[in-house]
């Protein structure tokens, strides 16, 4: 049988155009946040992954997810907190699969105890220290690692980090202190217990 349906095309088209205008406005609002939140997402991912391409992938994926949920994340502070957590989580997942491959290929190389003391700048600049530092950071508990990365970002106060993560400032301070101590213990083999220059 044949049925004839009359729709009202003007209204339907109008609704669609209105909707698309709303999407465009939403996208512009989101893009305005990217100047600040793009680097934030990338740096968190890069801090976990230590690889530019992987960090870029993960940060973009996290930002796209944030965009899809943007209606519920309009509050800037809530948005940043949500973004940081999702990018950190995605980066950890990516790092885990990468690490499984890596561990099969290389052993944890313990550096030989240095005979001569270094100053901090020389130490931080050495490629051996940097590689060891990255792995030491990777071995830290996640909650310490995220606080260390966020607190080290330029322009972040401890109060801002606390607000982003929904933690008391005291908890952030304590995680920062414990995290740095754990890193220093792991990297202590780079200096001898003689008076540094």
């Amino acid at each position: 049988m044949q049925e004839l349906v009359l729709i009202q095309p003007i209204r339907a088209a109008d609704e669609e155009w209105t909707r698309e205008a709303a999407y465009a406005a939403r996208r512009r609002e989101f893009e305005a946040r990217l100047a600040e939140c793009g680097p934030l997402a990338y740096r968190v991912a890069r801090g976990v992954l230590r690889n530019d391409a992987d960090a870029e992938d993960v940060a973009q994926e996290a930002l796209l997810r944030a965009y899809r949920r943007f209606d519920r994340l309009r509050d800037p502070l809530r948005f940043r907190g949500w973004l940081v957590r999702i990018v950190f989580r995605l980066a950890l997942d990516r790092a885990r699969s990468a690490r499984r491959r890596e561990l099969r290929e290389t052993e944890w190389a313990q550096p030989a105890r240095r005979a001569t003391p270094l100053n901090a700048e020389e130490l931080a600049a050495s490629s051996e220290f940097q590689a060891h530092f990255g792995r030491a950071l990777e071995e830290l508990p996640e909650k310490l690692r995220l606080v260390l990365l966020l607190a080290a970002m330029e322009g972040h106060t401890l109060e801002e980090v606390a607000a982003m993560l929904g933690l008391p400032v005291g908890t952030v301070k304590s995680r920062l202190f414990v995290g740095r101590k754990k890193l220093a213990e792991k990297l202590q083999c780079y200096v001898t217990n003689t008076k540094a220059r």
Binding site: M1, Q2, E3, L4, V5, L6, I7, Q8, P9, I10, A12, A13, E16, R19, Y23, A24, R26, R27, F30, E31, L34, G38, Y42, R46, R50, D52, E56, Q60, L63, L64, Y67, P117, N119, A120, E121, L123, A124, F133, G134, L137, L148, L149, L150, A152, M153, E154, F177, R180, K181, L183, A184, L187, Q188, Y190, V191, T192, N193, T194, K195, A196
Partner: protein
């Protein structure tokens, strides 16, 4: 030994940069071993902070934001319009199916019993129930647009795609709308000629009516239970 006893305090002092308590300070000033421990830890903590700063403040690659913005543009319309198109197709399909299920016995009754059913009224009631716009079958040919005939010759041929009839003045908008949908791989549109969209009696063969019960149109529930054959 005091050196072992104070080691923890030396590490904490190196970590926080805070001053040592005076009784420990006095010992450290006299003890070369503790001075070595404190200095080495201070170097490590400073290197750790430099490492953290370096790792946490990498520059954003120049392609990052342009890439992301193009992904955002691609993201919105396709996903949303896809949902919109499907919602429209599903609603239209449901309407046609409902009409097919309910309308057939009525048409048979009309033909056999001679009772005239007001299909426009029935369809409007159904359409309202589905929150769609009303349905009309042409009784006033002036309101039906004539153009681009690609319509099957016999309207009673089984075809479950809905045709869309619009007043002449709205045809342009409709074409624009459908062109947009089709660009996204959405729907097909057949514009029918005026002459061809005339109500015809249904050609139904081999129908045997054992019992026919006709109920008021206002009783939608009753329609479902109409028993023909």
């Amino acid at each position: 030994m005091l050196c072992d006893k104070y080691k923890g305090a030396l590490i904490d002092a190196a970590a926080s940069g805070a001053a040592l308590p005076s009784y420990i300070r006095e010992h450290v000033d006299l003890c070369v071993r503790c001075q070595g421990v404190l200095a080495a830890r201070q170097v490590v903590f400073a290197a750790v902070d430099m490492g953290l700063h370096k790792i946490s403040n990498v520059e954003l690659p120049s392609s990052f934001l342009p890439d992301l913005k193009s992904k955002l543009v691609a993201e919105t319309p396709s996903t949303r319009a896809g949902i919109h198109n499907w919602a429209f197709v599903c609603a239209a399909g449901t309407l046609v199916l409902a009409l097919a299920l309910i309308g057939l016995p009525r048409d048979q009754g009309k033909q056999i019993g001679g009772e005239s059913l007001n299909r426009t009224k029935k369809a409007r009631a159904l359409a309202n129930g589905l929150r769609l716009d009303p349905i009309h079958v042409s009784k006033a040919p002036d309101r039906i647009e004539v153009s681009k005939a690609r319509m099957p010759q016999n309207l009673s041929v089984t075809n479950h795609d809905p045709e869309v009839l619009v007043p002449r003045e709205e045809e342009e908008y409709l074409e624009g709308y459908y062109a947009k949908l089709q660009k996204r791989g959405g729907m097909n549109l057949i514009l029918a000629g005026r002459q061809e969209v005339q109500a015809k009696a249904l050609q139904i063969e081999q129908i045997e009516v054992k019992e026919l019960k006709i109920e008021s149109l206002d009783e939608q529930a009753g329609l479902q239970r109409t028993n023909t054959r």
